[in-house]
Assembly symmetry: C2
DNA sequence: ATGTATGCAAATGATTTGCACACTC
DNA sequence: GAGTGTGCAAATCATTTGCATACAT
């Protein structure tokens, strides 16, 4: 099911804000636009820097509050990585994906996971646990770091 | 492969310490014993409290350092949970297991995951990524919280 | 004796919050 | 104009670290 054509992310945000008596400020607009352009695994710090670089000075506090708003509006999903930092990525109408983390260079890749249903079945099988969501990180070495390691 | 019969966890720790020129102190012994008895998903804070309660005052710093040592000795494995807190559990000679987290009551259950190999195959298939380890959390509702929720 | 461990308190890093002022509705 | 939102700085929370002292080898 694709998103209705005339329903942009900004509309979605505006709608969410309106519903909950909040306001569509400039910071929220810029933050949202920048976040969506960057596309992928931004920490609050990352986004903060991008905003500064783009000539839109905001405070870290606003970035944190803004990212939470994006999550509440359904535009972003957050995941906490092993380094303890929470990163955000756009919530697209796409299948849930999981993450490959290279322990050498720190790159993060996304993979679609066709096994999700089976994993959820496993959970169900454990005393009737009702799965609703999951987080999967697979750690290892990306191709280029393997090459570098082999060489040394 | 099971552990050799006369190789207790404490032996294993002692061996690791000896190998790396470190010392088997009282704190490390007590900490290790308490950790292994408690069995399952302890945060540094949790272990600290248990040690105090058991009449073994230690500093938080020592608990943190001690837990790291246990990991290095291969007696514990650490996982960072979604709340951002790192928890430790005994590293047994058992198949890797994953976690079911109840979002209502916070309980954590362990499940063995027979799909691990398939997941690693998926990772491989993504541009030759070399998987070495993983972290899987499935969130949802445990049986009793489902019941409570249905009732309300 | 030599050098590692511990305790304490201060430092860190990510994130949150209180408050006075600024801006949206 | 009323009531959110923002910036700033101070507060939190989990965790780490520096340093003087205590203990294992």
């Amino acid at each position: 099911m694709k998103r209705a054509p005339h329903h942009t992310p900004l509309d979605q945000l505006a709608e969410h804000l309106a519903r909950s008596g909040q306001r569509l400020t400039n910071q929220r607009k810029v933050l949202t636009a920048t976040f969506l352009e960057a596309r992928g695994h931004l920490s609050a710090e990352d986004l903060y820097r991008q905003l500064l670089a783009a000539g839109h000075p905001v405070s870290m506090a606003t970035v944190y509050r803004g990212l939470r708003t994006l999550v509440e509006a359904g535009l972003a999903v957050e995941s906490r990585f092993v380094d303890g930092v929470v990163r955000y990525e756009p919530a697209l109408d796409e299948p849930v994906h999981d993450h490959l983390v290279c322990d050498e260079c720190g790159s993060v890749f996304e993979i679609e996971n066709p096994l999700v249903d089976e994993l959820y079945d496993l959970a169900q099988a454990h005393d009737g646990f009702l799965p609703r969501d999951h987080r999967l990180l697979i750690h290892g070495l990306c191709r280029s770091c393997q090459a570098r390691t082999d060489a040394s």
